[in-house]
């Protein structure tokens, strides 16, 4: 269980550790003042709208307790929608509504929520129940993503999203995390979720690891993991690459979901993306970062950057 390697071997494998991520990647590429752009989902939405970055459409924002009273009327002819805290994280406070049952709202599990309960949820959100440090927040209402079924059978519960790491706007690595029974439907690798590296060149799965060990099939569904291919791959990468242009964050994680009709949609951005992606890819990130570093000074737009990365990292 507890095997240790040497720093020399990790360096040889090109692995980036936490300290290097913090000292070199984040501190030198992500100016602090840009953080609010990604830590506040409402701001992310505002900067991504109208520049060709597809996001789940915004239906409304609840900013004051006064608005909460008008919610019933506002939501009356909506079928599916999602309410989320603007400054939430880790899935906290996200309420997904997939349909209506008379006056009540139906959750994906099939259970119902009354308008009163929904209003209570929103007003708790406003007072900061779900946001970092308990700060007052706003609640966003956005359209329900109709998940495409490419991930059908690849995950035990829920729909996985695709995480792409961008360095100076170049996609350098991608993965998706598949929940398992063991991970209790959660997508955390250290809790037993499966990490699936995705080939930057093709969108096909590269290799899959669970608890750091390579696996072939999903432990619960039995699906052969090498069969996964993310559709609209180049579109998806172009979408993520544009996020660099609007945020200016040099080391950026982008979470993408696939909508049945709309294709790839940006769900959220992260200025401190983790390092587990290296484990899922079975590969250190450093050689790729160095390559991008060597491209400094060459002006490329998002499409050109993606083309370069697909070529270089194939």
């Amino acid at each position: 269980m507890f095997k240790f390697t040497t720093p020399a071997k990790l360096n040889k494998a090109g692995v980036i550790g936490m300290n290097r991520r913090n000292v070199e990647l984040i501190a030198q590429n992500n100016p602090r003042r840009l953080y609010p752009l990604v830590d506040d989902k409402l701001k992310t939405k505002q900067v991504t709208q109208g520049v060709g970055i597809a996001v789940p459409a915004m239906i409304g924002v609840v900013r004051t307790q006064h608005h909460v009273g008008q919610l019933g009327e506002f939501l009356s002819d909506l079928k599916g929608f999602v309410i989320k805290p603007s400054k939430g994280s880790g899935g906290k406070g996200i309420l997904v509504i997939t349909g209506r049952d008379g006056e009540d709202f139906v959750k994906p599990s099939g259970s119902c929520v009354t308008l009163k309960e929904l209003q209570h949820h929103v007003s708790s959100t406003l007072s900061g129940l779900y946001s970092l440090g308990g700060n007052p927040d706003v609640a966003m209402i956005e359209t329900l993503v109709e998940f495409s079924d490419v991930f059908e059978g690849f995950s035990y519960e829920g729909v996985p999203d695709v995480r792409v790491i961008l360095f100076r706007g170049y996609p350098v690595m991608a993965m998706t995390r598949l929940s398992t029974r063991e991970s209790d439907g959660k997508a955390n690798l250290h809790q037993g979720a499966v990490g699936l590296g995705i080939d930057i060149a093709t969108g096909r799965s590269l290799k899959a690891v669970q608890h750091g060990k390579p696996i072939e099939h999903h432990p619960d569904t039995g699906r052969k993991l090498s069969e996964l291919k993310v559709p609209y791959w180049e579109t998806l990468l172009n979408l993520t690459s544009r996020c660099y242009d609007v945020t200016g964050l040099g080391y950026l994680g982008a979470d993408i979901v696939l909508d049945k009709n709309l294709g790839p949609l940006l769900l959220e951005l992260n200025a401190r993306p983790g390092l587990a992606i290296q484990i899922a890819n079975g590969m250190g990130m450093r050689p790729r970062l160095s390559l991008i570093e060597s491209q400094r000074g060459i002006e490329r737009n998002a499409e050109e950057r993606v083309a370069y990365a697909m070529e270089a990292f194939g």
Binding site: L10, V15, N19, R20, G134, I279
Partner: protein
């Protein structure tokens, strides 16, 4: 990348100042690197005389200058007398003057000091052989005594001791009588001893000094003999006939006859009292530095009033705890819940001791988590939620306090030392963590926090470390340098060597 050179400059600067000051204080001001106590000798001279009614002047010859002596206190001023210190050909004197003195006068002069080891510089005699001055019958008597003394002596020192013993005890021996013929005072026989052993080529000298011994004693200046044997000076106790360490005697300059000169008075006398106390070496070094008016010595915890010292002591230990946290988080990779919460827990452990502290912590947090679990159904807002947890914590404190009292287990009261607000936040964070990430993560982070706190505690209670930060607060700059260096360290953490280990396996 531009930050790098800046960091190097800053770190070198901090190291230079911090270590430089430390070394200076250590080698120049006599601060100690390790904790310990020193014996402080309080020597008081009581001078007494009958004044004649006019101006009076009292001159006390002081002890010989000695580099090993660190004065820490000196009583300088005396009622109606003005006091100055003068130096006449290397002999230090204290001079008291008064315009008109009438009747019995008593002057006290007190000096406190401690001794550094090694005490006295050894200056070997300059001549190859000592002056050999005995003549005639005295010479013959000396030869006989030497002959007898050498029967049982195996070394120069033993020979000298034998002669010394014979001349003091066998006063009726005819040869001794010859030698002591012209000696007025009983105590002056040592000069003759010196002459006798000089015939054997042994250097010696008669010195006067004050024996530093015991807790509190009245003493007068006594005479000792120093013998140069086997390449070093040895001080002999003429009565017990044994060697006395130099550190136990305060020597007066050679060739001083009277210690006290009084003008404008008669019937003068001086008596000494010697007492000793144990004192912390750190405190003494500061006192000594202050007496010699060194500014750097002031920059120490011990220069504060005693009451303030304790507060500051705790304060100075916190950075050390912070360093432990930084090392464990950034170099080892241990995760803790709440960055500096472990330091606060460690400070609590300092009041409760480690095992009791751990036990109480686990009980309070455990019970708190169970109570908090019921709260989570109520979907309370943040502040009221923490406030409720706080009330829980206080109820648990009270319950432990009362229960332990009823059971006669008084250590239970130590629970009061835990910071309640911090504990409430800890419980809140862990319960959120439990809901979001599961019990596994709570165990990892909770265990990490307690481990960090315990280690910080163990480091912070180490007496050596305590001594270092109290005496050399400038070491905080060194600490800062280390923290800055760790802050810019971009290598792997220890635990990452395990985390990323699978990536170095080959796939075959």
């Amino acid at each position: 990348m531009k930050a790098r050179p800046q960091i190097y400059i800053m770190v070198s600067l901090l190291l230079f100042i911090g270590l430089g000051l430390t070394i200076y204080k250590c080698y120049v001001l006599g601060f100690m690197f390790t904790p310990g106590t020193e014996t402080v000798w309080q020597v008081q001279a009581r001078m007494q005389f009958e004044a004649e009614g006019g101006p009076a002047k009292v001159i006390l010859t002081m002890n010989a200058p000695d580099k090993s002596i660190r004065p820490v206190f000196r009583e300088k001023f005396f009622e109606d007398y003005e006091c100055v210190f003068v130096n006449e050909d290397g002999v230090r004197k204290a001079v008291w003057t008064r315009d008109d003195a009438q009747g019995m006068q008593v002057i006290y002069f007190r000096a406190d000091f401690y001794r550094l080891s090694p005490p006295v510089e050894q200056v070997p005699p300059t001549d190859e052989n000592p002056q050999d001055v005995l003549e005639g019958p005295q010479r013959l008597a000396g030869e006989d005594i030497l002959l007898r003394a050498s029967e049982t002596a195996t070394s120069e020192l033993a020979l000298a001791i034998n002669v010394l013993g014979m001349m003091d005890e066998e006063r009726n021996d005819p040869y001794v009588k010859v030698l002591l013929e012209e000696v007025e005072y009983r105590t002056e026989y040592m000069g003759q001893v010196s002459k006798v052993i000089a015939m054997e080529g042994i250097h010696s000298r008669v010195v006067r000094g004050l024996r530093l011994q015991g807790k509190y004693t009245q003493r007068s200046i006594t005479t000792f003999i120093q013998v140069f044997a086997e390449g070093k000076w040895v001080l002999l106790d003429p009565k017990a006939l044994v060697e006395i360490p130099f550190s136990e005697v305060l020597l007066w300059p050679e060739n001083t006859r009277g210690l006290l000169d009084v003008y404008g008075g008669s019937n003068s006398s001086v008596t000494f009292s010697v007492s000793s106390v144990k004192n912390s070496a750190g405190q003494l070094a500061v006192d000594a530095a202050q007496l010699s008016e060194s500014k750097l010595g002031d920059f120490s915890i011990y220069s504060l009033p005693i009451e303030d010292q304790n507060t500051f002591k705790l304060l100075l230990l916190i950075p050390v705890g912070a360093l432990v946290v930084v090392v464990l988080r950034n170099l080892v990779g241990i995760r803790t819940s709440g960055t500096f919460m472990p330091i606060l827990i460690a400070l609590t452990f300092m009041q409760t001791t480690l095992l009791l502290g751990l036990l109480l912590f686990l009980v309070v947090v455990g019970v708190g988590l169970v109570m908090r679990y019921y709260l989570s159904h109520l979907n309370l807002l943040l502040v009221p939620r923490i406030a409720s947890v706080l009330v829980f914590v206080i109820i648990i404190f009270a319950a432990i306090g009362i229960a332990s009292h009823k059971l006669g287990w008084h250590s239970g009261h130590a629970v009061m030392f835990f910071p309640m607000i911090i504990l409430s936040w800890t419980i809140e964070r862990r319960s959120v963590l439990w809901e979001e990430e599961g019990p596994h993560e709570v165990l990892i982070q909770g265990g990490g926090s307690l481990f960090t706190a315990s280690l910080a505690y163990l480091v912070m209670i180490s007496p050596n470390l305590e001594h270092l930060v109290f005496n050399f607060p400038e070491l905080l700059l060194v600490l800062l340098a280390i923290i800055i260096m760790i802050g810019s360290y971009s290598g792997f953490r220890l635990l990452e060597l395990g985390r990323f280990e699978p990536m170095t396996r080959s796939d075959e």
